[in-house]
């Protein structure tokens, strides 16, 4: 370690004395030794203190509000380091160097001073340090000379290290696609460009020649040999996939889903599916839609489905019940609080319409409108989301025909409605006609509900919807 450091020190002679060089003997403290030992596997870099530059308006101190990096992070020139605030001005401080952050001199909410060190950055020794003033911003023109390379009137952004790499490999920066911020060309872009040319990742070497395939050759006999040597052999390009796995913790809505579904798993589900001919209902809704709109309400199919379900539950109350934890008691719920699964930006929520048994179809439509607008605004209250006794999920609005819905505890049944499709069906006379068909998939708790009960309920619900006039007979 000792010898390595001495070598690096001697090669860096142009460093101004202003910069703190860790390699003087007085800095041979235990902590520094440890730090250097860790990095000795890579080239031993020089630690530079990056000082807080002038903010303007005579400001001498600022408050550090947010760090964008932490100790140990790699930074490139122009990367954001931190956000500081002074008197209503928020300032983004960017790095002047490529390197690794070794020390943050301030914590959040500390006061930082202009001209004093902000962070310590370890710079790769072989790259050297650009001799820049570290307090006042350099005039824009010379700044651009350092960082831009004008080629054919295009300004290409690249750090000095990247430009050197391109030069060593005879690469024109204008031919490289930059993937960094502001289309900046990064070291990876140069390496990818090289790889594409020769089919391999090459170390930077002045000997590698990138020659366009249409180059003229000088002597004819040498031509085939020349071509064979100079035209790059098309090897299958290594497809560079830089995607990384992303791990996030399960919180909020997802956590809620995890809880519900884990509990639902304990319920032995059985399924029952059927198809409903909604031709008459479609017609009825077309007639009633303008009436509802006059009253300021959007009328979908759901209010009909919900009311029909409630009428069915009157005949088969076990479907509107709840089984206690020990499966000792069944509670038949008096209210039909029918839940409607809603898909929001954050996830699945199931608000319910209370007391459907005493609501008209129009009442249900009004309530659905209210729940839908609150749901999309993310403003549903606890009472809207609790107390449900039976649920319908209109997955058909998104798509699908048959589904296998999961019962939401403490309920014992749920129905999933597929999309309405126009399909050919036979009528009583044996003629083919256009029918509006929707599929329904029920799931029920097999501990207290048997197949026959579910089937009969479904048939009753189906009959109300296939012949809406029959609902009139049983409306309370």
């Amino acid at each position: 370690v000792c010898i390595h450091r001495v070598r690096s020190c001697s090669s860096i002679r142009f460093i101004k004395s202003k910069y703190v060089c860790v390699f003087d003997k007085s800095a041979l403290k235990f902590s520094h030794q440890q730090r250097l030992f860790r990095t000795s596997a890579v080239s031993c870099g020089q630690i530079v203190q990056f000082k807080l530059s002038d903010i303007g308006e005579g400001i001498t101190e600022v408050t550090v509000k947010e760090w964008y990096i932490k100790e140990g992070d790699s930074v490139s020139q122009f990367d954001s380091i931190c956000e500081v605030q002074s008197d209503k001005a928020s300032v983004t401080i960017t790095s002047r160097y490529d390197g690794v952050i070794r020390k943050l001199h301030y914590s959040i909410d500390d006061i930082a001073f202009v001209g004093k060190p902000l962070v310590d950055i370890e710079i790769d020794a072989s790259k050297g340090v650009a001799p820049e003033e570290d307090v006042v911003e350099t005039p824009p023109m010379s700044h651009e000379e350092h960082t831009h390379q004008e080629i054919k009137g295009h300004k290409t952004l690249a750090t000095p290290a990247v430009r050197r790499l391109a030069m060593e490999n005879n690469i024109k920066l204008s031919e490289v696609v930059g993937t960094g911020k502001d289309n900046r060309i990064l070291k990876e872009d140069i390496l990818n460009y090289l790889a594409k040319q020769t089919g391999a990742i090459l170390p930077p070497s002045p000997k590698a020649e990138i020659v366009p395939p249409l180059r003229k050759t000088e002597t004819v006999p040498a031509a085939p040999k020349d071509k064979a040597r100079k035209i790059p052999v098309p090897i299958s390009r290594p497809i560079a996939f830089s995607g990384k796995d992303k791990t996030e913790s399960v919180t909020g809505f997802q956590k809620a889903m995890v809880k519900t579904m884990s509990a639902a798993l304990k319920i032995p589900h059985f399924g029952y599916c059927d198809e409903i001919d909604l031709t008459q209902l479609v017609q009825l809704r077309e007639e009633l839609k303008p009436l509802a709109e006059l009253r300021g309400v959007k009328l979908s199919f759901m209010p009909f489905f919900i009311k029909a379900a409630s009428l069915g539950l009157l005949q088969y109350p076990i479907l509107n019940a709840s089984l206690d934890e020990n499966c000792q008691n069944v509670t038949y719920k008096a209210s039909h609080n029918i839940g409607v699964a809603m898909d929001t930006e954050q996830g699945l929520i199931v608000p319910n319409v209370k007391n459907v048994q005493v609501c008209s179809v129009f009442d249900i439509a009004v309530e659905l409108n209210r729940l839908q607008s609150l749901g999309s605004a993310g403003q549903l209250g606890t009472s809207d989301l609790t107390g449900g006794t039976f649920t319908l999920s209109n997955i058909g609005t998104i798509g699908g025909t048959y589904a296998k819905p999961v019962i939401l505890p403490p309920e014992v049944a749920i129905g999933a409605l597929g999309k309405i499709q126009i399909l050919p069906r036979f009528n009583g006379k044996g003629e083919v006609f256009k029918a509006q068909i929707m599929n329904v998939s029920w799931s029920a708790d097999h501990r207290i509900i048997d197949g026959a009960t579910m089937a009969r309920f479904s048939n009753l619900w189906k009959s109300y919807l296939e012949n809406p006039a029959s609902m009139l007979l049983d409306l309370k």
Partner: protein, 372 residues
């Protein structure tokens, strides 16, 4: 209209030629643009775009914009501390966090916003505000307006009619300020009053001030007149022609990448998640069964999420298993009423079906949600 679209074409071709946009203009020195949108997020995105992509060396920019009712908090502020979030939600008033520092403001169409874009070196707030005062005095010489050392503009030495904030980057900077022409003062004062108690944080606090509309001083003034006067003064000072270029912040072709900027400004992670760490230490007074329960609550919120949560309930008021489930669910969740409502109502599904228990649970949860 034709002239406008021709300009847009030239504009566009200019951008396509060089990576850093160079807006076309008859004379260099300055450019005046005005947004056709009243959406706070779209307009803030335009500021970001100009800050990131425009070369301000040869040409400074004045951006004029107005917004539909919105509350805008500074980069390092705490929205719970600054405004009445419940009222905002009820009234459908948008909440935005800008990238510049400073305090919280209320915008509506009776308020105009001015942004002065310059290079970092030419950043000079006092000069900009003096320009505004000069424009106002040229329009109405009898107006008593002046710039304070806090970069406010006061009317009659008393009432604040303009507040300032700024953002500095590596090579460019912007200074923006508001100007109250005919804003709804009732809504302004009600939304900028926070009902949340027990908040402790190092977020930048706003300094409340008495405000007044210029319209109250002189009913003949309109927002359009003010915008025009300021544009005229800017044009004079920058020796450019007095032409205001209209831009549409939704035009991705003109401003490539702007829709991503707009989207980012609307994310929960930016608006709420960027709130500096804070703690909530308060007492819930819950009326239950004829008596009032005092329940101490302590929460630490970081990045807008509940890091630590303590609720001091009377023993056995809730079954211990359920209490720990509640605390476990709250920890790591967003400090957001919508998220917490969903969580607690879901938890109720897997509780024993007991009416008494349910009503206690609902009471506690509703009180907790009121804190957000």
């Amino acid at each position: 209209m034709v002239l406008q679209s021709l300009k847009s074409c030239l504009w566009l071709s200019c951008i396509l030629r060089t990576p850093k946009a160079c807006f076309w203009s008859t004379a260099s020195g300055g450019l005046i643009i005005q947004s056709v949108s009243n959406d706070i997020y779209e307009n803030l995105a335009v500021e970001d775009w100009i800050h990131d992509h425009m070369d301000l060396e040869k040409q400074q920019v004045l951006f004029l914009w107005r917004n539909s009712p919105s509350v805008v908090i500074g980069r390092h502020q705490n929205p719970w501390q600054e405004c009445n979030l419940r009222l905002l939600r009820q009234k459908n008033i948008k909440l935005a966090r800008r990238r510049s520092g400073g305090g919280t403001v209320y915008h509506d169409l009776g308020n105009i916003n001015l942004t002065f874009f310059t290079t970092r070196k030419k950043y000079e707030r006092t000069e900009n505000l003096k320009l505004v005062v000069k424009a106002l005095k040229a329009l109405r010489p009898q107006l008593d307006v002046h710039v304070t050392d806090r970069y406010d503009i006061l009317l009659d030495r008393q009432y604040k009619i303009s507040g300032t904030a700024a953002k500095l980057g590596r090579t460019s900077a912007y200074h923006h300020c508001t100007l109250l022409c005919n804003a709804d003062k009732l809504v302004l004062s009600s939304v900028l009053k926070s009902p949340y108690k027990g908040l402790k944080s190092n977020a930048t606090p706003s300094v409340p001030a008495s405000v007044k509309n210029l319209f109250e001083e002189d009913p003949s003034l309109t927002s359009e007149m003010l915008l025009d006067a300021i544009a005229k003064e800017y044009a004079t000072q920058h020796q450019i022609d007095h032409h205001v270029n209209l831009i549409n912040p939704a035009d991705e072709a003109l401003l490539p990448g702007i829709s991503n900027k707009t989207k980012e400004l609307q994310t929960w992670e930016w608006v709420y998640g960027k709130t500096p760490k804070f703690s909530v230490s308060t007492c819930l007074n819950m009326a239950y069964n004829g008596s009032v329960l005092d329940v101490k609550v302590n929460m630490d919120v970081k990045h807008g999420k509940i890091e630590v949560c303590n609720i001091d309930l009377p023993e056995q008021w809730l079954p211990p298993g359920l209490y720990s489930e509640l605390v476990k669910s709250l920890t790591g969740s967003k400090f957001c009423p919508n998220e917490i409502t969903t969580l607690v109502t879901t938890l109720l599904r897997v509780c024993p079906q007991d009416d008494e228990l349910h009503s206690r649970w609902s009471l506690l949860c509703e009180n907790m949600i009121m804190l957000m």
